[in-house]
Structure formats: structure tokens, C-alpha cells
């Protein structure tokens, strides 16, 4: 009985590993076109248009590195939104 259990356990771990590999391959196949076509084209277009998504360069003339942020006191409906 113990032997059967250990064999089943081995097959289970093998199957889980196979499932993990299949998940990674599936993600790769699906995400490559999304990234290189979707994100890539948007990124290239943004660069051509001069859009800068992240503030990576420091501004020596800036008074402060902090940004104003209004986070509270909104209408109740705002709490229902996920954005």
C-alpha cells in the first residue's frame, strides 16, 4: 500500500511539474505578441510623440521632488470605483 501511495505521489508531482511548464509556455506564447505588438507599438509611438511616462531625469531647478496628491475627502461614489 505504501509503495502504491509513493508511486501516486511521484506521478502527482510529475503532473504538477508538467502543468507548471505548460503554464509558462502558454503565458509566453500569449504574452509575446501582446508585449511586442501592443506595448511595443505604443511605446514607440509615445517616444515619437515625445511622451515621457516616468520622470527619470532630475530637474535641477525644481523647488521640490514631491508631487501634490489629493487623496481624500471625495464623494462616496469614488470609493466604488477601481480607478
Amino acid at each position: 500500500m505504501k509503495k502504491v501511495y509513493s508511486i501516486l505521489k511521484y506521478f502527482k508531482s510529475l503532473f504538477l511539474r508538467f502543468g507548471n511548464v505548460m503554464k509558462n509556455v502558454g503565458n509566453l506564447v500569449l504574452l509575446i505578441p501582446v508585449y511586442f505588438l501592443g506595448v511595443g507599438s505604443s511605446s514607440i509611438l509615445a517616444r515619437i510623440m515625445g511622451r515621457n511616462f516616468l520622470v527619470l531625469k532630475s530637474d535641477d531647478d525644481a523647488q521640490s521632488l514631491w508631487n501634490e496628491c489629493d487623496i481624500g475627502g471625495g464623494a462616496r461614489e469614488e470609493y466604488y470605483r477601481q480607478f
Partner: protein, 234 residues
């Protein structure tokens, strides 16, 4: 982190005499947790890792929610609102901006991050309803507002309700607590002591060091100034 959720909501909405329960949830990044607030007062809080025994467990805190509900003696139907600690789409936008800016070097981080975004993080509402069988309203708070509330709320609670400690499971409190040079970041001694008494077992030991010069900050002197704590720990 989840302490925050709904603290403000609980206060503002509690106009009638019925008890108002708000459940706060934080998950999918690190240290998933849940907090239950009754009429604007924190009555139970727990991290998921304490139940699953997986350090920094980020999975949906089903066990922590169950614990909070059991402390209050209620079921999920009694919860009026569930608060999630951030607005998922705001963070998703920031993540996308990072990938756009760093293209094509961001491919591997995109590959690693996107599956969890598509299966969990963007479907928080559905997961809450499915895993907890909850049918009420779900609120999404600003991430930084949640941080601010979690900083303020527990301290107020402990300062005002020292005779009524938060319910903690036995394995959530400790025999030994060590703090190195943390005392200088705490505004008042009584806050420090209340924090210690919340997590230290009776008869437990607290070891702390401080860089405050010219200030007597020994354990006895702290108790001399704050006699309301008695002397349960040493």
C-alpha cells in the same frame, strides 16, 4: 495595512443604532491580512501568514477573514461593507507606464507580472464575492489613504481603550520583543508602551536600545511616567 479600510466609512455611515461592520482586506502583494471594524472600532485583525505558515503570504486572506468573523461572532452576511486597500486600476496604469517607458527591457518583468494581474489583481471584486460568498458593497480606497489610516487608527484605539485589548491569537503574541533604536521615532512613551503590551505575552521580555541623548528611557522610567500600564511584562 488592512487596518485602514473602512475606518472612515464606518464612522461616517454609522448613523443608525444597528451595528456597522466593515471588513478591510489587503492582499496579492505581500502579507495579506484582514481587519474587522465594528462601529468605527477595530475589533479583530490578522495576517494570513499566521494561518498558512507561509512567510509574507500574499494569497487571498480567507483564513484571516474567518478569524476576524469568529472573534466578532458573526457571519459574512452581517458585514455591511468590504474595503480593499487600494484602487487596482490605478496601480495597473502605473505598471503599464513602467513597461512602456522601459520597452523592450521590461519584457521579463511584464511576463512575470501580467499573469497575476489578469487572473487576480484586476478581478479583486469578483474574487471577494466568490471566495467569501459576499453580496454587499465593496469599496476601493486610495493606497496612500490606507497607509495614513493604518498609522493613525490603531494608536488611537490602543491609547483610548487600553483596558480592552485587541483579540489576538496565542501565536500572534510573543515572549520576546526586541527593538533597536526605534524609540526616537515614536512621539510619546505611552504609545510605545501600548504597542509593546499589545504584542508581548504576560511575563514576556522587551529589549530595546535608544539613541536619545540626555533622556532617561529605561523600562522602569517609562512605567513611572505611564502608571496606567502596571507591570505585566519586564
Amino acid at each position: 495595512m488592512s487596518v485602514i479600510l473602512g475606518v472612515g466609512l464606518g464612522r461616517s455611515i454609522t448613523a443608525n443604532s444597528r451595528k456597522m461592520y466593515v471588513l478591510g482586506i489587503s492582499c496579492f502583494y505581500h502579507d495579506s491580512s484582514a481587519t474587522l471594524i465594528k462601529d468605527g472600532e477595530v475589533i479583530a485583525a490578522a495576517q494570513e501568514e499566521r494561518f498558512t505558515r507561509r512567510k509574507h503570504d500574499q494569497s487571498f486572506p480567507v483564513n484571516a477573514v474567518g478569524f476576524c468573523l469568529s472573534i466578532a461572532g458573526i457571519s459574512i452576511e452581517a458585514i455591511d461593507y468590504i474595503g480593499f486597500y487600494e484602487k487596482p486600476l490605478v496601480k495597473f496604469e502605473r505598471i503599464l507606464y513602467q513597461h512602456l517607458q522601459m520597452y523592450p527591457r521590461s519584457f521579463w518583468s511584464f511576463y512575470k507580472a501580467m499573469p497575476s494581474w489578469l487572473t487576480e489583481k484586476l478581478r479583486v471584486m469578483r474574487l471577494i464575492r466568490k471566495k467569501l460568498k459576499y453580496k454587499g458593497d465593496v469599496f476601493f480606497l486610495d493606497h496612500h489613504l490606507s497607509h495614513a489610516a493604518s498609522r493613525k487608527r490603531p494608536n488611537n484605539l490602543r491609547r483610548n481603550k487600553l483596558h480592552k485589548p485587541i483579540h489576538l491569537r496565542d501565536d500572534l503574541i510573543f515572549l520576546l520583543w526586541e527593538l533597536s533604536d526605534d524609540l526616537e521615532h515614536i512621539e510619546t512613551d505611552s504609545v510605545f508602551l501600548s504597542e509593546i503590551y499589545c504584542v508581548l505575552k504576560k511575563g514576556g521580555t522587551e529589549i530595546f536600545s535608544t539613541l536619545i541623548k540626555g533622556k532617561k528611557a529605561g523600562w522602569e522610567s517609562l512605567h513611572e511616567k505611564n502608571p496606567q500600564f502596571g507591570g505585566g511584562a519586564r
